[in-house]
């Protein structure tokens, strides 16, 4: 593992933390959709395993993570302050395919992370895209802040709020289906299982042009433990850390 130093820390809403980390090789090599494995402390073996996190963006020798505090590992990470160091491994996994003439990005909650990186890459490459983001609760709207430097974003919230669409991101997306699904377009999605299943239903038949980034529990993150299995359409299992985390919808069973 490599040592990365925390350069910036930001709390986003109540449940999210953004960490800007300095580690050259990851910052310069990471592609949209790839992830890193992170351990808060070297000499401590509880929690034991590193935790997987997608890369939000890179800049020079720095890369940024955005995570939700959901358990002990993320709790410890949320306590790190600028100047602290942590152990990182990566970049890991297979990212999103970038060979398209236009893209549709659909994110649910923290699923926004890898898609922000993708959107920034598309902007660089002048590939047009539309970005849909959905959150459950008002307070998660804080997440939208990381989308500031990304052109227009359509967002939804399941709680009633002004400015955005009230409902799920799929509900929002459905309304624009025909307008966005034209020509050589790819759809990129990341979010809770329920949302991805709904999307799969909605896009039945189009599985070839849909890429989803998936989460599973991971052991190693680099392909040795076979702990991150998910069922293949064709039978048998994929390993999310090495075959993914990005898959064509046609390859997986959600």
């Amino acid at each position: 593992m490599k040592l990365a130093r925390v350069r910036k820390k930001e709390r986003i809403g109540e449940r999210f933390v953004l960490l800007e980390l300095e580690e050259r090789s990851i910052a310069t090599q990471a592609q949209p959709g790839q992830f890193v494995m992170v351990r808060p402390m070297g000499e401590v073996y509880d929690p034991l395993l590193p935790r997987p996190f997608a890369v939000l963006r890179t800049e020079g020798e720095r890369f940024t993570l955005l995570f939700e505090v959901t358990g002990r590992g993320t709790l410890l990470l949320s306590r790190l302050e600028p100047g602290d160091t942590l152990q990182v491994l990566g970049p890991l996994g297979r990212g999103f395919s970038l060979k398209v003439s236009s893209g549709v990005l659909i994110a649910g909650g923290r699923g926004v992370v890898p898609l922000v990186f993708l959107a920034l890459e598309f902007t660089k490459r002048r590939i047009p895209f539309s970005f849909f983001v959905g959150v459950r609760e008002k307070k998660e709207l804080a997440l939208l802040r990381v989308l500031d430097d990304i052109g227009e974003v359509f967002w939804s919230c399941e709680e009633r709020v002004s400015g955005g669409f009230c409902g799920t991101v799929l509900g929002l997306f459905e309304r624009c289906l025909d307008t966005v699904l034209k020509g050589d377009v790819k759809i990129y999605a990341c979010g809770p299982e329920g949302m991805l299943r709904g999307l799969a239903k909605m896009l039945a038949g189009k599985e070839e042009i849909v890429e989803v980034s998936l989460e599973t529990r991971m052991g190693c993150g680099f392909g040795v433990c076979l702990g991150c299995a998910i069922p293949k359409r064709s039978g048998g299992y994929w390993h999310v850390c090495s075959d993914g985390p990005v898959f064509k919808l046609s390859e997986v069973v959600l």
Partner: protein
């Protein structure tokens, strides 16, 4: 400083071995450590035919421990020879292949096939897996079967033969006697411990098969005792493993008499663990002004 250790007729350049299932087929580790600097690498448990393994979830973290229910997933002999052997051919360290079968016959056949592969230095028999001909009891739990299994595998191969044992063993004395008689040349101890986890929020077992194998730092003091006891029972060289995470852990096993030590879960925690452990062992010998690791092995009995 001499770090090499002798396991019977097999010599390792140093006692640090990567254990089966935690270092893939070697390739995957390359970016993170210099395999050639280690004593040996043990590839993922291999069976005659490809095996899917268990449905997810397959891993769960416990206090300083890891529960796994991988279910021995592997690509099978044919693809291994085709896809992975070439990389292993170019390694300068010892290559152990961990093998298993659903029946005695499968063990024997894969052993015979691998016997033809010059590059492979040793075969490690995983004896902690279910025997389908005996309703899924592990092969160690039935002496008759164990005897046949090891005996027939011994006939099938001239390779250095390692028997890998775990907590399923009920009578260690008797088991070891059989293994010695049937021609095992070394013992790997220990495999993971049968354990259980409940997902309290979902109110269900974490794993489809309910129980899973516990490994990692948590089990070290238990594994160390198993190895210590075993060293007193047999002259077979022992590869001690179970929770080894630091050089101090490794040295504990060597001091009670293990001839080599296995690094497993620590590879998942940090893929360069094995090199850090080897480095730490060297530091220790320097600090203690010991020139031959042989002076450490079995010093505390």
């Amino acid at each position: 400083m001499n770090l090499s250790v002798r396991l019977g007729r097999l010599t390792l350049q140093n006692p640090v071995v990567l254990t089966s299932g935690t270092c893939g087929y070697g390739k995957e580790m390359r970016p993170y450590l210099d395999l050639d600097s280690l004593g040996a690498i043990t590839v993922k448990g291999l069976s005659l035919f490809p095996w899917e393994g268990n449905p997810p979830p397959r891993i769960w973290e416990t206090w300083a421990g890891l529960l796994n229910s991988i279910g021995l997933e592997n690509k099978g002999l044919e693809r291994f020879l085709e896809e992975d052997l070439p990389f292993l051919e170019n390694l300068a360290t010892c290559v152990f292949v961990n093998i298993w079968g659903k029946t005695v016959g499968e063990y024997v056949t894969i052993a015979r096939e691998l016997d033809k592969v010059k590059r492979i230095d040793a075969l490690e028999l995983n004896l902690s897996c279910p025997n389908v001909e005996r309703g899924g009891a592990t092969f160690v739990s039935d002496f008759k079967v164990l005897e046949r299994l090891v005996g027939e595998v011994r006939q099938a191969t001239g390779k250095f033969l390692i028997a890998k044992l775990g907590p399923q063993v009920r009578d260690w004395e008797a088991t070891v006697t059989i293994l010695e008689r049937e021609g095992a040349e070394a013992l790997s101890v220990t495999n993971s411990f049968p354990a259980l986890a409940v997902d309290v929020e979902r109110m269900s077992f974490v794993f489809a098969l309910k129980t899973a194998g516990l490994s990692g730092p948590a089990i070290k003091p238990l594994a160390l005792k198993m190895v210590y006891d075993l060293v007193g029972m047999t002259d077979l060289p022992i590869i001690g493993m179970g929770g080894i995470t630091t050089a101090e852990d490794a040295l504990e096993f060597l001091l009670v008499g293990a001839k080599a030590i296995g690094v497993g879960t620590a590879n998942l925690v940090n893929p360069s663990s094995a090199m850090r452990i080897l480095e730490g062992i060297k530091q220790y010998l320097l600090r203690k002004d010991i020139t031959d690791i042989g002076e450490v092995i079995g010093k505390v009995r």
